[in-house]
C-alpha cells in the first residue's frame, strides 16, 4: 500500500486539456454556435417572437442529434427597462424552485431535497426561470418536447440564452428520468456559451447527486465577464452590462433603438478597468473561500457553478468538472494576462464564433512549451503545463502555481471513487465468509426454533457468540460503505450497481432478523419504541430504498411490488430468506399485542387491538401461502409458530369471537 503514492505519481497524467482537445476538434461546438446565431437572429423577428428558440439537425447525417438553441433576447428586453433605470439587479437574484409550476417541472431536483434535510433549497436565477416558465407554457415548446423525445438532443444558447437552455436541459432530464420506460434515456447535452451562473450550491449538489454533471458543458472565454459576474455580491452587479451585451448581438436591435441606445451609452460610460477589478476581487474571494473550506461569507454571492466548464483561450481548451476547481480556473484564467489584453468586454463576450473556429486550427500546430526552463519534473507536471497553456494562464503568473495544485487535487478526487470501489469489492469478498457463517448458523436451527429465536435466546452460547461476532463485523463493513458513500468517496452511481444492490439486499434479509432479535432481547422496544419506527439502522432503510429503486417495475410503492411479484412464477418451496426484512419485528409486535389482548377489559380498545391482530394474520398468512418466507419462520418452536398457536387460543374466547365476527 505504501508504494501506491509513488506509483500513482508516475502513472498519473493530466487530461483536462486532452478532453478539451477532443471537444474542440469535433464539429460539436461549431454546430452549436451556428444554432445560437440563428436563434438570436430569429428572435424578435415578427410573429415568431414569442417562441425564443430554433431547432434542427446539426448539419450531419440523418439520425444525428437535434440542436435546440435558445435566445436570450427576450430576457434581455424584459430586463432592459429596469437596467436602464439603474436597477434591475433583483431579476438576477436567485429564487427557489418551490413555486407550483417550477416544482412540477423540476420534480426530481426538488424531491431529492428531503434527504438533504438541512441546508438551503435549490434556487436558480429569477429572470431565466421566469422566461423558461413562460416558454414552457407555449404550445411550440411542448410540441418540440414531443418531437425530440427519444432522440439525442443538444440544448444550446449564448449568454442569457444559455441559462435558459440549461433550464430546458434540466427539465428534459427531469422528465426523462421519471418516465417509466425501461429503454436507456437518450443522450442529452447542454452547451452554453458565455452564460451567467444559473444556480446556487444546492443546485450544484443536486446535479451531482443525479449524475447530470456530464450533461452540461459551459464554454467560457478567457476574459468574458458575464460567466463570472455573479460571483460578485448582487448589489454590485451592473445589470445593464449583461443586458446590453446580449442586445448587441441581436441583428434586429434597430427596432428597439431607444432602449438599445440608452443601454449602449450606459455601457460605454462604465469604467471597464474598475469592472474587471471588481470581478477579479470577488471571483478571487470565492476561490480563496473554497480553499479554506470556510462557510459562505454573508453578503457574498449565492451562485456556484455546476456541470463541466470548458475554459477556452485561442491556444486550446480545458475541461474541468469539479465545481471547486471550476471556480479556481474561472478566477485564474481571468486574472492572468487580464490587464495586458484589455480588449473591451463586449469583444470577449462575443468572441465564441471566432474561438470555435480558431481553437481547432491552433490545436493542429506543434506547440512549444514556453516553460522549457522549468526543472525536470514528472509527466504529470508537464501535462499540467500544457493544460495551463491551453487555458491561457501564463505559466509564470502568480495564479499558475495555485492552479497547478488545484488541478492535481481534482484529478486525485476524480480517480478516488473508482479506486475505492475496486478496493471495496475485494473487501466484500473477504467479508463474505462471515455471511456464510451466519447462513450456516441459520441452517442449524431451521428444524427447531429458527435462527431468530435461537439468537434471541442465546442458544448454544459458542455458536451464538460466533454468529454475533459476524453480525457485528458485517454491520461495521456496511456502515463503512455508507460512510464512504456519504463522503462522496464512491462512484455516483454506486447505489444503482446491481452487484452492490444485490449484495446489500442479501445481507439485509439474512442479518436484519438478528438485529431485530438483539433489539428485543435487550428490551429496547420498551425503552425506545417499536423497532420498525425507531430501532432500524439507517443502512437498512437505505438498502430498502436501493432495492425498490432497482429495475423499472418496482418503483417505490408497495402496490407495484405486489404486482411485480404476482407476475413472477409462483414459488414451489419456501424462499431461502424471508422476503420482508422486518417480518420478525411484526411478529414481536403481534405477540405483545396478543398478550395485552388477554387482559384487555375495555371493549373498544379490545376491538382495535383485535383488528390489528387480524391485519397481521392476513399479512403473515399471505406471506406464508405465497412461500415468501423462509422455513425458519415455520420451525416448530419459532415465535411465529407460537404466535399462531396463541392466536388460535385467543380466537376460542367468546368475546373475541363476537368482535371478530363483526368485522
Amino acid at each position: 500500500m505504501d508504494d501506491t503514492g509513488g506509483e500513482e505519481e508516475t502513472s498519473m497524467f493530466e487530461t483536462s486539456h486532452v478532453l478539451g482537445a477532443l471537444l474542440a476538434s469535433s464539429p460539436l461546438l461549431a454546430r452549436a454556435w451556428d444554432r445560437c446565431v440563428a436563434a438570436t437572429a430569429a428572435a424578435g423577428g415578427g410573429a415568431a417572437a414569442t417562441s425564443g428558440f430554433v431547432h434542427g439537425g446539426g448539419g450531419g447525417r440523418d439520425g444525428g442529434p437535434v440542436y435546440v438553441a435558445f435566445s436570450g433576447v427576450q430576457a434581455a428586453l424584459s430586463a432592459a427597462g429596469a437596467a436602464v433605470a439603474g436597477g434591475g439587479v433583483d431579476v438576477f437574484a436567485p429564487v427557489g424552485l418551490g413555486g407550483d409550476a417550477a416544482r412540477r417541472l423540476f420534480a426530481p431536483l426538488v424531491a431529492g431535497e428531503q434527504d438533504a434535510a438541512a441546508g438551503e433549497p435549490v434556487a436558480v436565477q429569477a429572470l431565466a426561470l421566469q422566461i423558461f416558465l413562460k416558454l414552457c407554457g407555449s404550445p411550440d415548446f411542448q410540441m418540440l418536447l414531443n418531437q425530440i423525445s427519444g432522440k439525442a438532443v443538444v440544448f444550446t444558447g449564448h449568454s442569457l440564452g444559455g441559462a435558459i437552455a440549461a433550464l430546458a436541459a434540466l427539465h428534459y432530464l427531469c422528465i426523462s428520468s421519471s418516465s417509466s420506460t425501461c429503454a436507456p434515456a437518450p443522450p442529452v447535452l447542454c452547451i452554453t456559451f458565455g452564460s451567467p451562473l444559473l444556480g446556487n450550491e444546492a443546485l450544484s449538489r443536486a446535479i451531482l447527486r443525479e449524475r447530470w454533471s456530464g450533461n452540461f458543458c459551459h464554454v467560457v472565454s478567457q476574459h468574458d465577464i458575464v460567466p463570472r459576474l455573479f460571483f460578485c455580491p448582487l448589489d454590485a452587479v451592473p445589470a445593464h452590462m449583461i443586458v446590453g451585451m446580449q442586445l448587441q448581438e441581436w441583428p434586429a436591435r434597430t427596432r428597439h433603438a431607444a432602449v438599445v441606445t440608452t443601454i449602449t451609452e450606459r455601457m460605454a460610460g462604465t469604467d471597464q478597468d474598475a469592472l474587471r477589478q471588481l470581478i477579479r476581487t470577488h471571483v478571487g474571494a470565492v476561490a480563496m473561500e473554497q480553499k479554506l473550506a470556510a462557510l459562505v461569507t454573508p453578503g457574498g454571492s449565492p451562485y456556484r457553478p455546476f456541470g463541466t466548464y470548458v475554459l477556452c483561450s485561442p491556444d486550446g481548451a480545458v475541461c474541468v468538472d469539479n465545481p471547486t476547481a471550476a471556480v479556481q480556473m474561472l478566477y485564474a484564467t481571468f486574472a492572468s494576462r487580464c490587464l495586458l489584453g484589455a480588449e473591451p468586454p463586449e469583444a470577449a463576450h462575443s468572441c465564441y464564433g471566432n474561438l470555435v473556429l480558431k481553437i481547432p486550427q491552433h490545436l493542429l500546430l506543434k506547440r512549444r512549451l514556453c516553460v522549457n526552463e522549468l526543472p525536470a519534473t514528472s509527466n504529470y507536471d508537464t501535462g499540467v503545463s500544457f493544460a495551463l497553456e491551453a487555458s491561457g494562464i501564463d505559466a509564470m503568473a502568480t495564479e499558475a502555481s495555485a492552479t497547478r495544485q488545484w488541478l492535481k487535487t481534482s484529478k486525485r478526487a476524480g480517480q478516488r471513487p473508482s479506486l475505492n470501489c475496486a478496493h471495496l469489492a475485494t473487501r466484500l469478498g473477504r467479508i463474505t465468509p462471515c455471511r456464510a457463517q451466519v447462513e450456516w448458523y441459520k441452517a442449524l436451527f431451521d428444524g427447531d426454533m429458527g435462527y431468530y429465536d435461537a439468537f434471541k435466546q442465546r442458544q448454544s452460547p459458542k455458536k451464538f457468540s460466533k454468529a454475533n461476532m459476524c453480525r457485528i463485523k458485517l454491520g461495521q463493513f456496511w456502515d463503512g460503505v455508507l460512510a464512504m458513500l456519504d463522503a462522496c468517496q464512491l462512484p455516483h452511481d454506486f447505489h444503482r450497481r446491481a452487484k452492490w444492490v444485490n449484495a446489500a439486499r442479501f445481507y439485509q434479509l439474512l442479518m436484519e432478523p438478528l438485529d431485530i432479535a438483539d433489539y428485543h432481547r435487550n428490551n429496547l422496544h420498551r425503552t425506545r419504541g417499536s423497532y420498525i419506527l425507531h430501532g432500524r439502522e439507517r443502512r437498512y432503510e437505505l438498502f430498502d430504498r436501493w432495492w425498490n429503486e432497482k429495475g423499472c417495475t418496482a418503483i417505490g410503492t408497495t402496490s407495484s411490488t405486489s404486482v411485480a411479484s404476482a407476475s413472477r412464477r409462483s414459488r414451489s418451496k419456501y424462499a431461502g430468506l424471508t422476503q420482508d426484512p422486518c417480518f420478525w419485528a411484526r411478529v414481536e409486535e403481534a405477540r405483545e399485542q396478543t398478550v395485552s389482548v388477554r387482559c384487555e377489559r375495555d371493549s373498544v380498545e379490545l376491538a382495535m387491538k383485535l383488528e390489528e391482530l387480524q391485519e397481521f394474520e392476513r399479512y403473515s398468512s399471505e406471506l406464508v401461502a405465497s412461500k415468501e418466507v423462509s422455513v425458519d419462520v415455520l420451525a416448530p418452536q419459532s415465535s411465529y409458530t407460537l404466535w399462531v398457536e396463541e392466536w388460535k387460543q385467543l380466537k376460542l374466547r367468546e368475546d373475541v369471537r363476537t368482535i371478530l365476527f363483526q368485522f
Binding site: 497524467f13 487530461t15 486532452v18 478532453l19 482537445a21 477532443l22 471537444l23 476538434s25 469535433s26 460539436l28 450531419g60 440523418d62 439520425g63 443538444v154 443522450p187 442529452v188 447535452l189 454533471s213 456530464g214 475541461c319 468538472d321 481547432p360 490545436l363 493542429l364 500546430l365 506543434k366 506547440r367 512549444r368 512549451l369 522549457n372 522549468l374 526543472p375 525536470a376 519534473t377 514528472s378 509527466n379 507536471d381 501535462g383 500544457f386 476524480g414 475496486a422 469489492a425 475485494t426 466484500l428 469478498g429 473477504r430 463474505t432 465468509p433 456464510a436 457463517q437 447462513e439 450456516w440 441452517a443 409462483s570 414459488r571 414451489s572 418451496k573 424462499a575 431461502g576 430468506l577
Partner: protein, 626 residues
C-alpha cells in the same frame, strides 16, 4: 566499438527486436513486387488482376501473393445505398464463419472491420483461385507471404488473418509461418480486431510499413460515407494513371479534406489518450454519444520509415494511433496546402525499401521515451527526418505506461494462482470425501448438513472473489490482450469451472433463486463461468457453447422443476434425450465426474422416475447403477 575515442559518440538509439536477415530480404522482395520498376505499373485499370502470385526460392522457397491497390472510392467505403442508419465510417461485423477468432473472447463481442475491404476479400475468396493457390503453396511447403500497397495492403492483411485462422484450426501454423507485409495501408479494423490479433499472437507476422506523413493510413479516421467525393479526389491524385499531380490543380477539395482528416485524427487520438491517461471526467461519456468517432484502430506491427537509415518499430496500438496524429502536426509557419502535398506524395515514397532494408536500423522509440527521465526527453524528440512536439512525447509515454500497467496488473493476478490452486485442492478433497460417503458433492452441498459443506461454501466464496476480480479487470481492459489465451490460466479456469460451478448451481437451487429470477442458465450464471468456458472453447478451437459440462446439474434441476410443475414428459422428451447424450459424451471424455452416477445421487433418483419405456432405450441405461 572502441571506448577510448576522444569525442564521445552520441549513444546509439536502442535497437528494437529487429528483423532477421531473412525477413529483411523478404520485405525487400515484397517491396519489389508491390512497386514493380518500369515506370507506370500495368496500365490496365479496368481488368487489373485481383492478385498475383510470385514464386521465389531465395532466401527460402516462398510464394508471395501481391494484392494491387484500388483507386476508386467505392472500393474504400461501401456505397451509401442504404442511406439512413448506415454506419458513417463504413464498418461492419466480420463474418464469424471466416474469422472465428476475431472477437473479444469473454464477452463474445465480434470485431468490426471496413465493409468494403471485407467485401473485396470475400469476392477474392469466392470468385478467384486464391484459395487453391494458397493451398498449393502450402502443399509445396513454401512459405506463404501476403503483400500489397495502399488498399491492397489492407486486403493482404485480411487474407493473412484468414490464413492464420485456417492454419491454427488445422494445427499447422508452424510449418506455414505466414508473413504479411503492407506499405501505406489504410486502417482496417476496430479495437476488438486489434485486441484479437494481439491475443492470438499474430501481430508479429503482420508488418505495416508506413512513411510518417503518408495520408492513406488515416483516411478511415474520417467519416468515409460523407466524404466520398473528397476521398475520390485524393485517390485520383494518388492514382498512377493521373498525369498531373498537384493538389492545387484539384481546386480546394484536397486541402479542405486534409484539414478534416487532421481534425478527425486529433479527435480520435485525444479520445484514446483520455482513456489511457485515466480521464475520469463525467462529460467524456456524454461527448462520445455526440461526436462521431472512427472505430478504426491500428493493428499489427508498425514500422515507420523515419529515414532510409532508421525504422521506428511499434507494436503498441495506442502509441501508433498517437503518432498517426502527431507526425502530421503542422509547424507554425507551414501552409496547409504544402502539408497536404507532402502528405499525399509520401504515399509513393516506399520504393527505397527495395534497397535500404539490409542496413536499416530498427529503433525501439517507445522504449527510449518511457525509460527516459520525465521532462528530459527534449533532446531525443527528433529521429531521422521526424520531429515530434513535446506533447506527443508525453502522450507516447502515457501509452507506454498504460501497457506497463496492464503488465503489472497481470503479475498481480498471477500471484493469486497459488491461492486458487490451494482452494481448488481443498474442494477436490471435499468432493472425494463426499464420494467416500457415497454421495455426490453436489447433493451434499445442496443439503448443507455437515461442517465440511459449510467449509466448502467458504472456499467457494473465496474463489468467487478471486475470479470476479479477474473478470472485472478484463471487462475494463486492464489486463494484457493475451491474457485470455494463456494456457495456464485457461487450464486453471477449466479446472475451476468444472469443480466449483456445480456448487454455485447447488447454492442457486438450494435458495430457490430460480423462482425469484429465472433459471440458472438464463439468468443466474455468473460471468466467471461464462468467461472461463469461452476461454477454453477459443483455445481448443471448438464451437462456442459446446462445453457446458459444468452446467450439467443446472439442466437436471430445470428438468426436475418443470416436471414438478406438472409438464408432461412427452413435452420434455427432447431436452431429456439431449441431456442424456451430452452427459454420455462428457462422462466418456472425463469432463463430467462419475459422482453424478452414484446410486444416491439426485440425478439417478430423478432419472429413475422417468417413464420405463424411455429408460429402457436410453443411452444412460448402462451407466446407471441398478
Amino acid at each position: 566499438m572502441p571506448t577510448d575515442s576522444p569525442p564521445p559518440p552520441p549513444p546509439p538509439p536502442p535497437r528494437a527486436a529487429s528483423l532477421s536477415d531473412d525477413d529483411r530480404l523478404l520485405v525487400a522482395h515484397c517491396a519489389a513486387l508491390s512497386f514493380p520498376s518500369g515506370a507506370p505499373p500495368a496500365s490496365c485499370p479496368s481488368t487489373s488482376p485481383s492478385f498475383q502470385v510470385h514464386h521465389a526460392s531465395h532466401p527460402y522457397p516462398c510464394s508471395a501473393f501481391v494484392f494491387p491497390p484500388s483507386w476508386s472510392a467505392a472500393d474504400w467505403a461501401p456505397s451509401p445505398a442504404g442511406g439512413v442508419g448506415r454506419p458513417p465510417f463504413g464498418d461492419a461485423e466480420v463474418d464469424p464463419a471466416l474469422f472465428p477468432s476475431l472477437r473479444a473472447v469473454g464477452s463474445g463481442v465480434p470485431a468490426r472491420a471496413n465493409a468494403a475491404f471485407l467485401g473485396a476479400f470475400r469476392g477474392l475468396l469466392d470468385g478467384s483461385p486464391l484459395q487453391s493457390e494458397v493451398l498449393r503453396a502450402v502443399a509445396e511447403e513454401k512459405r506463404v507471404v501476403f503483400t500489397g500497397h495502399s488498399s491492397g495492403g489492407s486486403i493482404a492483411t485480411l487474407v493473412a488473418i484468414w490464413f492464420l485462422e485456417q492454419c491454427t484450426r488445422q494445427g499447422s501454423v508452424n510449418q506455414a509461418h505466414p508473413f504479411c507485409v503492407t506499405f501505406g495501408a489504410p486502417l482496417i479494423g476496430d479495437s476488438i480486431f486489434n485486441h484479437a490479433v494481439r491475443r492470438e499472437g499474430w501481430s508479429q507476422c503482420i508488418l505495416h510499413f508506413l512513411l510518417p506523413l503518408d495520408i492513406v493510413p488515416r483516411i478511415p479516421l474520417t467519416p468515409l460515407a460523407s466524404f466520398k467525393e473528397e476521398i475520390q479526389a485524393v485517390l485520383d491524385w494518388l492514382s498512377p494513371q493521373t498525369p498531373n499531380r498537384s493538389p492545387a490543380g484539384r481546386s480546394h477539395a484536397i486541402p479542405e479534406y486534409y484539414e478534416t482528416l487532421l481534425r478527425s485524427t486529433l479527435s480520435i487520438a485525444s479520445y484514446e489518450a483520455c482513456s489511457f491517461m485515466g480521464c475520469t471526467s463525467s462529460i467524456l461519456g456524454t461527448l462520445t454519444s455526440f461526436i462521431e468517432l472512427s472505430p478504426y484502430r491500428p493493428c499489427g506491427t508498425y514500422l515507420f520509415l523515419a529515414s532510409s537509415e532508421q525504422l521506428i518499430v511499434l507494436t503498441n496500438s495506442d502509441a501508433v494511433l498517437q503518432l498517426l496524429f502527431y507526425f502530421l502536426q503542422l509547424d507554425p509557419q507551414q501552409q496547409l496546402l504544402d502539408a497536404a502535398a507532402r502528405s499525399l506524395s509520401a504515399h509513393w515514397q516506399y520504393e527505397p525499401i527495395k534497397q535500404c532494408m539490409q542496413d536499416i536500423v530498427c529503433v525501439d522509440y517507445l522504449g527510449t521515451i518511457s525509460s527516459d527521465i520525465p521532462g528530459r526527453q527534449s533532446n531525443r524528440t527528433a529521429i531521422g527526418s521526424v520531429e515530434l512536439s513535446k506533447e506527443a512525447i508525453l502522450h507516447l509515454s502515457a501509452a507506454a505506461q498504460w501497457e506497463k500497467q496492464r503488465q503489472r496488473n497481470q503479475t498481480k493476478i498471477d500471484d493469486n494462482c497459488r491461492k486458487i490452486q490451494e482452494a481448488l485442492k481443498s474442494l477436490n478433497d471435499y468432493k472425494r470425501t463426499c464420494e467416500l460417503y457415497g454421495v455426490s458433492y453436489y447433493d451434499s452441498f445442496k443439503l448443507q448438513r455437515e461442517v465440511h459443506d459449510f467449509n466448502a461454501n467458504v472456499r467457494r466464496l473465496e474463489l468467487a472473489g478471486l475470479w470476479d476480480e479477474i473478470v472485472e479487470m478484463l471487462r475494463r481492459r486492464e489486463l494484457p490482450d493475451g491474457f485470455e489465451a494463456r494456457e495456464e490460466w485457461v487450464r486453471l479456469g477449466t479446472l475451476y469451472r468444472r469443480l466449483v460451478e456445480p456448487l454455485d448451481i447447488a447454492n442457486y437451487y438450494r435458495h430457490s433463486k430460480n423462482e425469484d429470477t429465472g433459471s440458472y442458465l438464463s439468468k443466474g450464471r455468473p460471468r466467471r463461468y461464462k468467461y472461463t468456458q469461452k476461454w477454453q472453447e477459443q483455445l481448443q478451437r471448438i464451437p462456442f457453447g459446446s462445453s457446458l459440462e459444468s452446467c450439467f446439474w443446472a439442466m437436471v434441476e430445470e428438468l426436475q422443476a418443470d416436471m414438478a410443475n406438472g409438464r408432461a414428459f412427452a413435452n420434455l422428451r427432447d431436452r431429456v434425450v439431449k441431456l442424456e447424450s451430452d452427459a454420455q459424451g462428457w462422462l466418456n471424455s472425463g469432463s463430467l465426474g462419475k459422482d453424478v452416477l452414484l446410486s444416491s445421487s439426485s440425478f439417478v433418483a430423478w432419472w429413475k422416475t422417468l417413464p420405463e419405456q424411455h429408460r429402457s432405450a436410453s443411452c444412460m441405461l448402462k451407466h446407471i447403477p441398478q
